[in-house]
Amino acid sequence: MSTRTELRHGIALATLCSLHAAASDAPVAPVHPLEATAALKAAFAERIGHPADVLAFDLGEHYARALVQNVAAPDEYDEFAAVPGQPLEPGRPKKVGDIDCRRKIPFAALDLDAGARALAQARTIAAANGYKTPESISLGADIFCRDFGWRAILTSDADDDAMLQVTWTPDGTLPKAQEMHEDGWRKVDVTRLLAGGAKVTPAAPKPPPKTVAGDGRTRDFLLGIEADLARVQAEVGAPLGFRHISIGHTQLSLDVYQPANRKRVSTWLVGDDGAIKLWREDDTIPFDCNKPFASADFPLAQLADLIAEAPAQIPSMPQAEVKDAAVRRSGFCGKPHVYIKLEDDRGYGNVEYDERGRLVSAEIQ
């Protein structure tokens, strides 16, 4: 081995040794943080190395994180993380603009034992009421920058919409709980939760989406939609009462009032392979027009020609191409008009035809 190679190895070894020494100087997080909260807090205190206030703290078996503010330099926010059994890394600066809420407690008042107790209580509630076991618990303010304390959010596999929030004061007392409902949060008695008295009701299984396979023919809907309207009508089982027709090269989207309930609108999608899918069903918007129009109420037979001629209606966009087209009632509740959107490499243009296919307007956007 040459002297130069030995020297390189020596330098590399010295570098590794110094890195190891630096790492070994850092405080080490306890292997079981929830059972050694005092040791965890001491490790954070040593790593932070100066008086600090705590804005947020996440606590769990596998990870802990603190967001702190330097008491001597209030513009300095840093994030510290701990992994069980590992040396704590130096803090990462956090930009002042990323701090949404400045509620805080002195580091000395940080009670990780209270956090561990609250997490255990949250897990008891989760197990007793059909929620998933929470991985961790968080100390901090709520999204409105109020109610600084420990907080666990519980969700459930049985119902994607189910959510339970349990909060405690920073010292782990005064637990409160609230369930998410369609009309907002509702309080739930914690004693009842601990006894398993507020179980998640499994959501009713959703019916499989109604679909019809494609017919193997590739379409460009801007060249015509009549045949596909007939196919969707066969699925609906009644003449189509349209709210909105949206036409693109590769997709046709139809908002159709349901024949049995005019206060509901179904959205049918037709793909360029002809596949039909009932994509969604929604309530109509109160006080909106909600007046269906039929295929006979707009120039369906001329539609492809109107779309093809649209670029010529704006001479200052000679290279324009049709981006998409739509049929919907004009104004608040007028006759169904055809709206065609054009695009070139500098911008957009709009062409509008009335219910008889007469040009209403053609202008650059």
């Binding site: 513009d75 300095e76 926010y77 600066p93 956090k94 930009k95 002042v96 603009g97 490499d345 500098r346 911008g347 957009y348 650059i364 956007q365």
Partner: protein, 185 residues
């Protein structure tokens, strides 16, 4: 043509820009693009006058300059400059295309822009923000209303957006380098 070009560049003072690029302290400096080279190449391609819709320089010193097309004053083209390489014209696409009158009002004559001021403005921006080591996020010139005061005049505004590990900041200047607004997170 060469004589006209020389006159324009002299009027612009862009020759000073090269010196300006080296005048800033090295530690916290920004890699200024060679605007003299860019504008010389640009004027060689499009001729004078150059009417600037918007000029933007990014963190890496790449430049995106939007100018009104002389042959079709209703159109705006983008010219990009990346360390010596000029690319354009690239058609600018607007969601809502401005009218010719609006464009005529919005553009800034290239000769009105005092490029040699830029390094000093960057130093001022850092000082005003109290961030001596802040890095450039972007530097932009466009007409608009400054956040610092109410204006309906749609004046040309230089915006220096800077950042550091703990702060983001923005300083606005007028064409003469006067500070209009300072905003620091």
């Amino acid at each position: 043509m060469a004589k006209t070009l020389a006159k324009i560049l002299l009027a612009l003072g862009v020759g000073l820009m090269v010196a300006g690029a080296g005048a800033e302290p090295a530690a916290a400096d920004y890699g200024w693009p060679n605007l003299a080279d860019f504008l010389q190449q640009l004027i060689g391609k499009v001729g004078a006058p150059v009417k600037v819709y918007k000029l933007e320089m990014d963190r890496d010193g790449k430049v995106d300059l939007w100018i009104q097309q002389q042959a079709h004053p209703d159109l705006v083209d983008s010219w990009e400059y990346d360390h010596g390489r000029i690319d354009g014209p690239i058609p600018v696409k607007f969601d809502h295309y401005p009218s010719v009158a609006a464009l005529d009002y919005h553009v800034i004559e290239l000769t009105m822009i005092d490029f040699p001021r830029l390094p000093a403005m960057l130093a001022t921006a850092r000082a005003k923000l109290g961030l001596p080591d802040a890095r450039v996020v972007y530097i932009k010139l466009e007409r608009g209303d400054s956040s610092g005061f109410f204006s309906v005049t749609d004046t040309p505004i230089w915006t220096f957006a800077l950042d550091g590990p703990r702060h983001d900041g923005r300083v606005e200047f007028d064409l003469k380098g006067r500070v209009l607004d300072v905003d620091k997170d």
